[in-house]
Each structure stands twice: as structure tokens, then as C-alpha cells.
């Protein structure tokens, strides 16, 4: 059924593309410098400059430290989430996985296991959770949105089952101390090294590997991707495992930074992450997006957040700003392309009339 019932669909939508992409796309340098994520980075820089001027204390290593400590969980999860959304899927269960990990750490540590084992088991839990999502989406073929709404409830529920109402706080001070320690005078948290590794890993994976090339292709068109031998389902499965794993790492960070393991840790974080990723220029349609853009998106929300805290503006404003940015970031492109299309049509109308003229040659054919 699909093929035929939708041929029409593709045609019409392709028409849209053909027209939208007129006049022809940009090339090399300008493409990079004017690309969606480049713009995101400019906005970030602009904001940082503005904040440093407007807020006396903003430009200082202390800001760097506190700001980064706050955004690290989002930054971490946003990396694999970017890849997932680029393939046209979504994972809403990330925050719950982080919560589950945190809860596990609590009870295991309470039970007297040594920290090494605790960490390993907790992260493994994340891997398994991700694999469950991956299995249901890639193998069983269920819509990821529905699946991860389910596992969002499930994993958070398991967190409650594991640790209940208790909170575990007696983690080794050395360790918790390390998680908020800074790199000398820079004010950059030591853990950023680890975060950086994750960012580079996913950045390279997406932008410089055959796998990454495949992701973009299948994000735009699963069918076309299949026709060049890309293993669509296998790729998706591993991406969900990745989000699970990284969410677990975020959970570990959360637990040790706040030295408090609770079932409700990181709750509601999923929407923050997705908002940041979309703001970073990733298209929910799949296919479009880049790691640098997303990093800029995360940092932008983070800095606005922190700037508002510094100037003691209520979170209310932050919420409204986040929402508006999100909507603007998605409607601006479609508004622009609408204008483009309109212009293109006008140009076309202007230069077609000569076509029928040549059409009159059909008279000749009629002759014989």
C-alpha cells in the first residue's frame, strides 16, 4: 500500500522542495558561515558579550564554573539525543533513565558495595534501559514517541521501586568533592574533561564517520537510505543504547554533584534536553542538525538561565524565553522558505508566457 498511496504525497512534497530550494543552495564557505548552527553560535556569542557588559559579575571564571556545572547533564544527554532526532526518532525516557541510575547508585552504595562496582552496575543499567527502547523501536518497529512515553513512566517507576522515598547522601566526600572541583584558576569544572570526551565522540561519530553519513541519509529518507545498503534498524538500535548509556552517566553526575541519590533526580529534564537540541538547529523531521549547533543551543539556554539568576530575575522569565526561542527557531526557517517560494513563483509566472509560443509548433505536427 504505502508505495502507491504515498507516491502522490512524495510528488507534491518534492514539488515543494524543488521550489523551496530555488534559487540554488549556497556553496562552501558561505554555507558554513551562514549555516543554521553557525547562526546559533553567533547568537550565543552575542548574548555572552551583552551579558558581560550588562552584568558586572557575569564575566568571571566563577560564572564559567557554576554555569557549566548546571548545564552538564543537559549537555551530555543532548549529544546522543541529537543523533536520535536526526534519524527522525525521539527519546523521552532519558531523564527517567538518569533518575533510575541515581536511585540504583543510592541503594547499591547503601548496601556497601565499593564505588567502582556501583558505578559499573549503574551505567550498565542505563545500557539495558536504552537497549529496551532500541529493541521496541528498531526491532519491533513501534513509534519511538509512544514507546519512550511508556518507558519514561516505567523507568521513573522503577527508580521509585528501587529507592522509594529515601535519599542516600553519604557518598565519599573525596568523590563528591571531585565532581564540583575546578581546573585551577580557569573555573572550568574538572568533569568537563569527561564531558568533552563525550562531545568529541559524538561530534566525530556524526560528522566524520560512515555511520554518521548514514544517519543523515536515513533521517531524510529511510527508503533511500536502505537502497544504498544502510542498516536502518541496526543504526537506530545502537543510537537508543547510546542515549541510555549517556543518560546513565548524567545520572551518575547528578547524584555525585548534589551528593544525593533520589528517585526524583533529574525529573522533567527530558523536555529541557529536547528543547535545547531543537533550538540548536536539529529538525524534528530528521536529517538536519549538527553537534556544534546543539552545543551552542545548550550553552545559550544555560547562559540566559545563569544571567537571569545573577540579576535575580525569576525563573518565570526564563521559562517564557525558552519557549519563545524554541518556537522562533522553528518557524523562522519555514517563514523564510515561504517567502522564497513566493518570489520564485512570481519569477516563474513572469518568464513562462514564451513557453506556449513555442507550443504553437504543435500546429506543424497536426499538419501531417
Amino acid at each position: 500500500m504505502s508505495e502507491n498511496a504515498t507516491k502522490q504525497a512524495t510528488r507534491t512534497s518534492e514539488t515543494a522542495n524543488v521550489l523551496a530550494d530555488e534559487p540554488k543552495g549556497r556553496t562552501g564557505a558561505s554555507r558554513v558561515l551562514l549555516g543554521r548552527d553557525a547562526i546559533m553560535i553567533y547568537i550565543l556569542l552575542a548574548f555572552l558579550v551583552y551579558a558581560s557588559i550588562a552584568l558586572p559579575r557575569f564575566a568571571s571564571p566563577v560564572t564559567v564554573g557554576f554555569l557549566l556545572l548546571d548545564v552538564i547533564p543537559v549537555l551530555l544527554i543532548a549529544m546522543p539525543m541529537t543523533l536520535v532526532i536526526i534519524t527522525g526518532e525521539i527519546d523521552l525516557s532519558v531523564a527517567s533513565i538518569a533518575g533510575l541510575t541515581s536511585a540504583l547508585m543510592g541503594v547499591l552504595w547503601q548496601a556497601g558495595l565499593d564505588m567502582g562496582t556501583v558505578l559499573v552496575i549503574s551505567v550498565l543499567a542505563g545500557v539495558v534501559a536504552g537497549a529496551l527502547n532500541g529493541f521496541l523501536v528498531a526491532v519491533v518497529g513501534l513509534p519511538s514517541l509512544a514507546v519512550t512515553i511508556g518507558t519514561l513512566a516505567l523507568f521513573r517507576g522503577l527508580a521509585l521501586v528501587v529507592i522509594g522515598d529515601n535519599a542516600v547522601a553519604n557518598f565519599p566526600p573525596a568523590l563528591t568533592g571531585f565532581f564540583i572541583s575546578k581546573l585551577g584558576a580557569t573555573g572550568i569544572p574538572t568533569v568537563m574533561i569527561g564531558v568533552l570526551v563525550v562531545m568529541v565522540f559524538f561530534g566525530v561519530l556524526l560528522h566524520f564517520t560512515p555511520f554518521g553519513r548514514g544517519l543523515y541519509a536515513l533521517g531524510y529518507s529511510k527508503e533511500a537510505a536502505r537502497f544504498v545498503g544502510i542498516h536502518v534498524n541496526r543504526s537506530k538500535f545502537w543510537l537508543f543504547v547510546a542515549t541510555g548509556t549517556v543518560s546513565a552517566l548524567a545520572g551518575v553526575y547528578w547524584t555525585l554533584r548534589y551528593s544525593s541519590a533520589r528517585s526524583d533526580n533529574a525529573s522533567g529534564l527530558e523536555l529541557t534536553v529536547i528543547a535545547a537540541v531543537l533550538l540548536g538547529g536539529v529538525s524534528v523531521f530528521g536529517g538536519k542538525g549538527s553537534i556544534p549547533g546543539v552545543i551552542a543551543g545548550v550553552l545559550l539556554i544555560g547562559s540566559i538561565n545563569y544571567a537571569l539568576r545573577l540579576s535575580r530575575v525569576s525563573d518565570v522569565v526564563l521559562i517564557i524565553v525558552t519557549g519563545s526561542l524554541l518556537i522562533l527557531s522553528v518557524i523562522t526557517p519555514s517563514v523564510i522558505s515561504a517567502i522564497r517560494r513566493w518570489n520564485h513563483d512570481r519569477r516563474l509566472r513572469r518568464h513562462v508566457p514564451q513557453a506556449p509560443a513555442s507550443g504553437s509548433t504543435s500546429a506543424v505536427h497536426q499538419a501531417h
Binding site: 500500500m1 508505495e3 502507491n4 498511496a5 507516491k7 502522490q8 512524495t10 510528488r11 518534492e14 514539488t15 522542495n17 524543488v18 521550489l19 530550494d21 530555488e22 540554488k24 543552495g25 549556497r26 556553496t27 562552501g28 554555507r31 566525530v204 566524520f208 564517520t209 560512515p210 553519513r213 548514514g214 543523515y216 541519509a217 531524510y220 529518507s221 527508503e223 533511500a224 537510505a225 536502505r226 537502497f227 544504498v228 545498503g229 544502510i230 542498516h231 536529517g287 538536519k288 520564485h344 516563474l348 509566472r349 513562462v352 508566457p353 513557453a355 506556449p356 513555442s358 507550443g359 504553437s360 509548433t361 504543435s362 505536427h365 497536426q366
Partner: protein
């Protein structure tokens, strides 16, 4: 016009003159001209890509022509939407069925105008009855209460037909309604069409099958490369005349087939079957040989190709390349074995339309371009340039989205993508579907030069001239089986057509 006296006699129910429609770079329709009289069945014929469907979509109010004169009952008219066209009494059967998989068959027929009971609410009973009545007129046993999901393409067509005739419109437009229908179903359809004509409706009938056209239609309008060619009285023309009008050029000079010496078999398929789609397919393609797989739309050719390339699984049979079998159902395995596949739907399967030309051209090389798992953009660019140059793809830059290219150049990018893998076997499904005539010749030249380089080529095509011009051997498929094997020497249009339509005993 050949039919002026008639035309003046009755005002046409519908007339379109000099309609123009362009999609970005592609001019789909340069001079769309058609005139349908009340109470006539009017055929519209032309090669693939001639612009028939585009013209239909203009009549349907789906496309707005960039220029041209459009009249209904002699009154100038401009449709803003499909609704307008419906209101004007035009009902259309599109070439590709547009059904709602989640709705029941009955509802698909009556959507938007469901019969309402006293309560003012939709009366399912009446709807069911209506559908039943229509199906009995068409003589098909389809359960009106089943959902449209998973209907065979033939049944989808029938429902489209039922939908269209139930409107009993002034003008009924049918774009290749018979493409997927069996003989019996076609006869029923014709009966219905005639009765509608006798009740004064005008009917536009599009088909690639001349026997049907001559059996059913009063007048024939021929189109070529988006232009009106001529309108002729069926009674006063022969198939050959029509074909000449359609093709409008001497076949041999258009397809310069280079001689290539034929080597050992590259692809060997034995007893390949897939329940419900094709059965017992045996075929060989030798190095340097071009084998054409001909047949009507829906004959199962694409499905065979998909199975060989591993897009679909097959139930039984063997597929070997140079005597070695490769994993079924895994395109990557096929590619590694040396198979390339240019699919029939360029926009959906052949290319990732939103990706750049360069990326598309190197998509098959992903791992080949990587060193230690990392792709070097430099090598990627070089590879892209090399192959797009070899095929003379006309594009401003490697960075342009491939969707901005013309159909022909898009097709070249697809070919480039596969040549880059240096395949031993290249399967090409509908190589020139919807490609403007200039580029067509280029593509054909390319294909035969590939063969000359010793690549084995399996070409699926619905265009007879193409098949006859290119192929060393023609395999004709009918209803999922290979109906005939014809050598280049004795491959005539008649021979192929008859085998394809099984209209001659012995062909099956």
C-alpha cells in the same frame, strides 16, 4: 483540427488549450491541449513523462497552470482547489491511488459526502449499501467494511474507479486506470464507461495499452514531451500511426547501441518466488550484456529487482553473482558482491533529495572513503567530483541540494553513485522515467557504454522503444511470471506487447 466539424456541433464539456506547468527546473507541460465533448470517450496517449498526469492534475484543480486557457461548457474557468474542480462536475482517477488506509473501503468512496440519515449523522448502512451497489456494477467482491490498509494495487484502483463513477460527474478523467487490472476487471470497467458515455458524460481515458484505447475510445489525443501533438478519430487511424505520433522520431538513431562482446554469466537467478508478487523467475545476465525486463506496470518486474538486490526477501529460489550466492535481504551484501541498483522512483528511492549532490554521489562509498573509520572530506570531495564529472552532471556546485537538479541530471547522479562502486551487475529500473528527451539519449548512450566496458546490465523499462533499442535480450513479464524471452533480432513491438498483455495464446 481533424475534428472541427464535430467540435462545433457540440460545445465541449471541457477544453484546455496551451496549458503550461513547470516544477522548478522541470517543464512538465509546455502545451497541454485537450478537448472533451459530452458523450465521448477520449483517449490521451504519450510516452512516460509526456505530461499526461500533469495535465490531469490541472483538470483536477490540484496543479494551477502557469499559463493556458481553460473552459468548462465553453465558460472560462480557473480552479483554486480540488473542491472547485469537483464542484464543476469533474471527477478524477489519479494514476497513483490516493486512499486513506485507516478508513473503511466504503468510507474511502464517500469521504467528504457521506450519506446522512434522518438524525443528520452519517448513515453507515446507506454508505455500505452504496458501496455494495457500485462494486456489483463493477462486478468485484470487495468487503465495504474492511479498511483500505493493505489492499492490492488492483483493488485500490477499483475503489478509485468506484469513487469516481459514484459522483456521476459531467467529465470523468481516468489516468491509467487499467494499469494493474486483469482482463475481466478491464471489461467491466469498459462496460461502465460506455454506459456513462451513453448517459452523456465525457470521459478522458489514459492508457499505454493500444488494444484498450482502440476498443474503447472515439478520439485520441497524442502528447509528446509535454506538448500537444494531434487529435485523431480512432476510426481513421492505425496503431502504427499513433506510435509514430507518440515517438515522433526514428527509434534506431535515438538509441545508439555500442556493440559489446558478451562474456560469462554474471547474474544467475533460478526459481525465484515471492508469494503474491512473482514466481519461478529464471534469468541470466552476462558480462557486457543488456537484458531488458519488459511488461506492463504491475507485472512484478520491480519486485524481482528488489529481491535480487536484497530490498525485499524472497521465499524460494537462488540468486548468484559470478557463481557465488550472497546474503538475501541485505542490500549491503549485494553491494559488496558487486550489484548496483538504480531504482524506479528516483525521488523516493534513488536519491536523498535534501542532501547535496556530492553527498548523494558518495553515499555508496561511505566505508570506502574512511581511513581508520574517519571519513576524509578531501577524499570525499575528490570522489564526488570525479564521478559527477565522468557523467557530466550539470550542477553549479557539489554543495547544491540534489533536488535542485533537473530529472535527467538527478538520474545521472544516481548512476554516478553506483558507478563509483564499480559494480559487476547494474540493475536499472525505468532508466529514463520522466526524463526530458535530450538527456534520455545521453542516459542511453551511457548505459550501452557501460555494457561495452563489460558490466552486466539488467534494465527494467515500460517504454517499448527503449526496450527495443537497448536490449540484447528481452524478457517479458506477465502477472509475476516470465512470459517470453525474445532475442534482439526478433524483438518487435508486437511480439513484446502481446507477450506482456498475454493477448496471444502461446505467450503463456
Amino acid at each position: 483540427m481533424a475534428t472541427d466539424h464535430e467540435a462545433s456541433a457540440r460545445t465541449p464539456a471541457l477544453s484546455l488549450t496551451g496549458a503550461v506547468k513547470a516544477f522548478g527546473p522541470v517543464i512538465a507541460l509546455a502545451d497541454g491541449t485537450i478537448e472533451i465533448l459530452p458523450g465521448e470517450i477520449h483517449a490521451l496517449v504519450g510516452e512516460n513523462g509526456a505530461g499526461k498526469s500533469t495535465l490531469v492534475k490541472i483538470l483536477a484543480g490540484l496543479h494551477h497552470p502557469d499559463a493556458g486557457d481553460f473552459r468548462v461548457d465553453g465558460e472560462p474557468i480557473a480552479f483554486r482547489s480540488v473542491a472547485d474542480s469537483k464542484a464543476a462536475g469533474i471527477s478524477v482517477i489519479y494514476q497513483e491511488p490516493t486512499l486513506f488506509p485507516d478508513l473503511t473501503v466504503a468510507e474511502n468512496i464517500f469521504i467528504g459526502r457521506q450519506p446522512r440519515g434522518r438524525s443528520g449523522l452519517i448513515s453507515r448502512a446507506e454508505m455500505r449499501a452504496g458501496a455494495r451497489e457500485l462494486f456489483s456494477r463493477l462486478g468485484v467482491p470487495i468487503d465495504p467494511d474492511r479498511s483500505a490498509e493493505g489492499l492490492s494495487i488492483a483493488d485500490q484502483q477499483i475503489i478509485e474507479i468506484a469513487k469516481a463513477i459514484s459522483l456521476d460527474a459531467k467529465v470523468l478523467v481516468m489516468d491509467e486506470p487499467t494499469a494493474a487490472l486483469s482482463g475481466v476487471e478491464v471489461d467491466r470497467l469498459f462496460a461502465v464507461a460506455r454506459s456513462l458515455r451513453d448517459r452523456g458524460a465525457g470521459i478522458l481515458f489514459i492508457s499505454h495499452r493500444f488494444d484498450e484505447v482502440f476498443a474503447l475510445c472515439d478520439r485520441i489525443t497524442v502528447m509528446r514531451d509535454g506538448r500537444y501533438v494531434a487529435t485523431l478519430e480512432t476510426s481513421s487511424v492505425t496503431v502504427d500511426e499513433i506510435v509514430r505520433e507518440m515517438v515522433g522520431r526514428d527509434i534506431d538513431q535515438l538509441f545508439p547501441k555500442e556493440p559489446a562482446q558478451i562474456g560469462d554469466p554474471v547474474l544467475t537467478v533460478r526459481g525465484l518466488s515471492r508469494a503474491g508478487v512473482f514466481a519461478d523467475i529464471d534469468l541470466d545476465v552476462r558480462a557486457g550484456e543488456i537484458v531488458a525486463l519488459a511488461g506492463l506496470v504491475g507485472a512484478g518486474r520491480t519486485e524481482v529487482a528488489r529481491a535480487v538486490f536484497g530490498i525485499d526477501r524472497y521465499d524460494t529460489g537462488t540468486v548468484e553473482l559470478n557463481g557465488r550466492a550472497y546474503t538475501a535481504g541485505d542490500p549491503q551484501a549485494a553491494i559488496d558482491a558487486g550489484v548496483g541498483f538504480v531504482p524506479e522512483d528516483r525521488r523516493k528511492q534513488g536519491l536523498v533529495m535534501d542532501l547535496s549532490v556530492g553527498r548523494n554521489a558518495t553515499l555508496t562509498l561511505r566505508s570506502a572513503l574512511a581511513r581508520f573509520g574517519i571519513i576524509s572530506s578531501a577524499r570525499e570531495r575528490r570522489a564526488a567530483e570525479k564521478w559527477t564529472k565522468t557523467l557530466q552532471v550539470k550542477t553549479g556546485s557539489q554543495e547544491y541540494a540534489v533536488s535542485t537538479l533537473s530529472g535527467g541530471n538527478q538520474q545521472k547522479v544516481v548512476l554516478a553513485k553506483w558507478l563509483a562502486t564499480e559494480p559487476r551487475l547494474l540493475i536499472i529500473d525505468e532508466p529514463t522515467r520522466g526524463i526530458d528527451v535530450g538527456t534520455k539519449a545521453e542516459v542511453h548512450r551511457l548505459i550501452s557504454s557501460l555494457a561495452a566496458r563489460g558490466i552486466a546490465i539488467l534494465m527494467i523499462s515500460s517504454e517499448l522503444p527503449e526496450v527495443l533499442g537497448m536490449a540484447d535480450r528481452v524478457l517479458v513479464m506477465h502477472e509475476g511470471r516470465i512470459a517470453a524471452e525474445i532475442d534482439r533480432a526478433d524483438a518487435t513491438p508486437e511480439a513484446v506487447m502481446h507477450a506482456a498483455t498475454a493477448s496471444m495464446e502461446g505467450s503463456k
